[in-house]
């Protein structure tokens, strides 16, 4: 695999210039994600009203893959219902686990499909899924 197909323009841009890397003024909930292997830490904040993710942001530190994955995830899931978000998270994690996706599932991932190549790099899979698992835990804790 060509390394540049993973570190694409989209991923690089999101990793350094994310519009979502900030603190929300009045988040309704938040969750911490940590990868003990590399020390990456992110805090996800969200404003969830009537079952809809109205706003979401993050801060913390990590590699380009974990930072961009978080940013692209927020971009994709903002405005979605928590149920839709959970479904999309499940599809994303399946993709990283190298499970075959239907074209319908791929469509739902939009820009997050950029991480498909991470599935070929077992040592980096955790970087890509850190924020997705963190959001999954957050959404499950709301029930």
């Amino acid at each position: 695999m060509d390394i540049n197909s993973l570190y694409s323009e989209l991923i690089m841009e999101h990793s350094v210039n994310s519009p979502y890397k900030k603190e929300l003024s009045h988040p309704s909930c938040s969750s911490l994600g940590h990868n003990p292997n590399c020390g990456d830490e992110i805090k996800l904040e969200a404003t969830i009203e009537n079952g809809i993710i109205q706003d979401m942001a993050f801060f913390g530190h990590g590699c380009a893959i974990s930072q961009s994955s978080t940013s692209i995830m927020i971009d994709l899931l903002k405005g979605k219902t928590t149920q839709e978000a959970k479904e999309i998270i499940e599809i994303f994690i399946s993709m990283i686990k190298r499970e075959k996706l239907t074209s319908e599932q791929k469509k739902r991932l939009k820009n997050a499909l950029a991480f498909e190549n991470v599935s070929n790099m077992p040592s980096r899979a955790k970087c890509a899924t850190l924020s997705w698992h963190t959001l999954e835990n957050l959404l499950n804790s709301l029930q």
Partner: protein, 400 residues
């Protein structure tokens, strides 16, 4: 001109630039052959059979122990306990010595640069016995000042210290530390895991009470490690793991234990590993530590010079390091750096190197780390530098 690369099947093809020997070294062919030959011609369970193979396996295992004892200048063969690695050896001491001899109000002193394997077991001992775990910190030069040794006081029962840091390469002044510890009646465990393939270890000269190392970081296979302990200490310790071959009499409700070293070697041991470790020791001895250090220092100095020429690189290296360099590219995460290096077949470690308290102390989340062995070359460093330049070139436009 030396050519140690030819001794290592995985290195000699030149396809892989292996700069992660601190994680595990590559293995020379003579060690691989020795392990194969044990299984091919001598495989049997030692200490049990009355037949030729078992007797031969026992003899080879004992001989390996003798070679290890000579290698680190132990007084008695039975002061050498085979374990699966240094981690198990430290846990053995923590459980069998630490839990028995540490009490409320006592202190265990370790350095901030310890690997988790020489840190977490002591945390456990101190928590269990309500004792205090105290750290020797580093100065700006990444070294332990003499004044830090004041922490080793009359409450101190154990000092556990590395011989060579796996992150910054520091080699603390063990003579001073051990003298100080002994002057207050504390015993000292030396973690020789990183040191064993670079520095001559002499347990009698050091006057170390316990010393541990892993075979796999010194050209031997995975799964064999060594605990050295002074005979009188080991004799007075309770066994760590219970089972076959470590007993004398077993009754329904009670057991008496075998003498050293069997007391600490429960169950069938890794005989092939011990025999291969003996071969690795012979390999090291055939080269000699003077040559090893000369070869590695040359590559190390070259790497430092080259890395210092890159304005975008930060180095984290103790002044007395000769085999370990931690570094970061400014504003690029070490995991991204190591992934790009990997795409050029350059193997380096990135992360916290099993030393989270040290990284926190240095105010770092993670670093890239390169570590050397006898097969490391300046050519490896040239390839590393080329690749680093390429990575920086790619990231430059994004990070400004």
């Amino acid at each position: 001109m030396y050519n140690f690369q030819k001794d290592f099947p995985l290195i000699k093809s030149g396809k892989t630039v292996y700069l992660d020997s601190g994680a595990t070294s590559q293995k020379p062919k003579c060690v691989l052959d020795e392990e194969y030959s044990f299984y091919k011609s001598f495989n049997a369970n030692p200490h049990r059979g009355t037949y030729y193979l078992s007797e031969k396996a026992t003899e080879k295992y004992n001989h390996a122990r003798h070679t290890v004892a000579k290698f680190i200048n132990a007084k008695f063969d039975e002061e050498i306990i085979f374990t699966k690695n240094a981690t198990e050896a430290i846990n053995l001491v923590a459980y069998s010595y630490g839990l028995e001899n540490i009490n409320n109000q006592d202190k265990v002193v370790i350095s901030i640069m310890e690997h988790h394997s020489n840190l977490v077991p002591w945390q456990k001992v101190c928590k269990t016995k309500k004792a205090k775990l105290e750290y020797l910190y580093l100065n700006q030069n990444l070294q332990i000042e003499d004044s830090e040794l004041e922490k080793i006081d009359s409450n101190t029962k154990i000092v556990a210290i590395t011989m060579l840091s796996n992150v910054i390469g520091d080699r603390p002044n063990l003579e001073k530390i051990i003298n100080k510890a002994h002057s207050v009646g504390a015993i000292v465990l030396v973690d020789g895991t990183q040191a064993a393939c670079h520095i001559q270890i002499d347990v009698q000269k050091l006057d170390a009470d316990f010393l541990v190392f892993s075979g796999h970081k010194m050209y031997a296979p995975l799964g064999i490690g060594v605990l050295y302990g002074k005979k009188n200490l080991l004799e007075n310790m309770t066994p760590f793991l219970m089972g076959g071959d470590m007993i004398e009499y077993v009754n329904e409700q009670s057991t008496t234990f075998a003498p050293l070293p069997n007391k600490f070697e429960a169950g069938t041991q890794n005989i092939a590993g011990a025999v291969a470790l003996e071969k690795a020791i012979e390999y090291i001895s055939s080269i000699g530590y003077d040559t090893i250090q000369k070869v590695e220092k040359e590559v190390f100095d070259y790497a430092i010079t080259k890395l210092k020429q890159l304005p975008y690189v930060d180095l984290y290296v103790s002044p007395n390091s000769t085999s370990v360099i931690s570094f970061n590219i400014k504003n690029i995460h070490p995991h991204d750096v190591s992934t790009f290096l990997a795409s050029d077949n350059i193997c380096v470690r990135s992360g916290n190197h099993c030393a989270q308290p040290l990284l926190k102390f240095l105010n770092l989340d993670s670093t890239c780390r390169i570590t050397f062995a006898i097969y490391s070359t300046k050519n490896d460093i040239d390839k590393l530098i080329d690749s680093l330049n390429k990575i920086y070139g790619k990231f430059k436009k994004y990070i400004g």
